[in-house]
Symmetry: C6
Subunit: 68 residues, 6 copies
């Protein structure tokens, strides 16, 4: 389900984190581990900081959706 979002900008909520991440989904594996580029951290709708390239561990992802 997530594979169809590769190449698009997504929003991700992680477990136990107050902030959320928005960035371009570069790749995803079978465990839903994802590689995001140009990641930006938001909290309560406000931009916190640029994080650039990062890998998120699949089992700690709560929610992924296309960012419009």
């Amino acid at each position: 389900m997530v594979k169809s979002l590769v190449g698009k900008v997504i929003r991700v909520e992680m477990k136990g984190e107050e902030s959320e991440l928005v960035g371009k989904l570069e790749s995803v594996d079978d465990y839903m581990n994802i590689h995001i580029s140009n990641a930006v951290e938001y909290r309560n709708g406000e931009k916190i900081r640029n994080l650039g390239n990062l890998v998120l561990r699949g089992n700690n992802i709560i929610l992924i959706q296309p960012y419009e």
Copy 2:
């Protein structure tokens, strides 16, 4: 057990989240990862916002039930 709910509106509680999600269950895989459309976020019975399409990671789901 969850497969029988595909095409129906469900309510989902996620781990470590105060809010809950209601939406149409589009698909579910063997890990209980689910795709929901027309998702709406509720907190204490009040609608918070529309979230549209989203994917929820199965291992962070607490509870799924038909929404009546």
Copy 3:
């Protein structure tokens, strides 16, 4: 161990939840995902609400026991 409880009323504690659930165990799979009918939510021994049919994700279960 849980399979012997199918058809009986059980009490379940879920991870990160203050309330507990009591209901009839309809089925359980190899991951301890369980289907409960006539589920009732309790908090500190007081009934909170009827939840009816629901599926609980196995990896977020803390404890299951027969409800006497």
Copy 4:
């Protein structure tokens, strides 16, 4: 490692719980799901209540040890 404790009284700490459980280890499977009989719940060294028979989900166990 836990299999050698079957038939003995053990102490178990569960994730996200303030209380701990003491009881006889009846059986354990490959996922460290355990069946305990005569379980007693303790908090800060004080007995809270008898819980009798119960099943604990292996992935939510923090620590198991012989209870002396």
Copy 5:
């Protein structure tokens, strides 16, 4: 990576616990479940209590390191 530490004294941080454990690593399996002997519990650098023999569930381990 952890197998090279068998027979040595290690420090372990567990998920959701304020205290940490120090003891001799007796064995470790493929899931990083570990058996520790002569375990001692520390909090903020102070010794809390001796715990003796114990088994820690691998998926709830945050960090393992040699204790020097």
Copy 6:
């Protein structure tokens, strides 16, 4: 995705921890368990302490990224 970072300095956020770790990624296995050397713990951008060699359990990792 993480394998390409072996030999480089990375930043890691762990689940349920306020601090973050920076160190050289020595190795990573299929479960994203990682071995870091020269690890340093930071909190709110301030260095807390040197931790040296350590192993982090993959399923409790939230985020890994190159540290620039």
